[in-house]
Symmetry: C2
Subunit: 138 residues, 2 copies
């Protein structure tokens, strides 16, 4: 299947709560995650909520990485979306999960920009190749 992009939809649970509140740390982690995926950072936008929580996005030459955190629950919702054969968004997801100390991770892969007919683009949700909530390997 030829797709313009690969989008990893990701829920992280059991994360380190203080890490999820630290906007500078979250921003640094996402920027390093982009580098792990071999992607190129174009723009960065983050916001720290009161009393807690961080939302932010790294716009890439190859799409984006985003995060929304709920420190009080140890939970973060992330998206790792890259285009091009030179990038691997799974490497970004693995890096971020470890950096945030997640004890479980759920991902779904969506192939974006699949040309189903001339000029008509769809996406395809792939079956997960892992348990719905799987413990990270050490």
């Amino acid at each position: 299947m030829k797709a313009l992009g690969t989008h990893i939809v990701c829920e992280l649970s059991g994360c380190d709560r203080s890490t999820l509140s630290d906007i500078d740390g979250v921003r640094s982690t996402l920027m390093q995650a982009a580098r792990e995926a071999k992607a190129t950072i174009m723009e960065v936008a983050f916001h720290r909520f009161q009393p807690q929580g961080v939302s932010g996005v790294v716009v890439l030459a190859e799409s984006h990485i985003s995060i929304h955190t709920w420190p009080e629950s140890g939970y973060a919702a992330m998206d790792f979306y890259t285009c091009g054969d030179h990038t691997n968004p799974r490497l970004a997801a693995e890096y971020a999960a470890k950096a945030f100390g997640a004890d479980s991770v759920q991902t779904t892969e969506v192939k974006r920009g699949v040309e189903s007919a001339k000029g008509q683009y769809t996406h395809v949700v792939l079956e997960r190749d892992e348990p719905s909530v799987g413990r990270l390997s050490a």
Copy 2:
């Protein structure tokens, strides 16, 4: 099903090509789409590629809206992700599809932040309630 957020994954085809190249117009459309969803804009980050194409994200108090455009193909990949009962990301998607002149739209809805066990969060991909590629109603 109780979820923290609703994420609409969206492919737009047959869009107006010049509109997809205009960074100012794309930014304005995404900001208005956020307002249509009753969301609150916190940060905005957009980038114009050479020779063409725009990527950008509006970070919301309630998650984010993103776009990546391929003007040469009339194609845009968009995500509309909001949290809270006061927002409706489908209204944002409908607004953007019309603004970009899409002649067909594919969406998949993902419920994000579904607590499956204490402190364990998952997402759930919902069956589409529409054809895989459906023409927008007038």
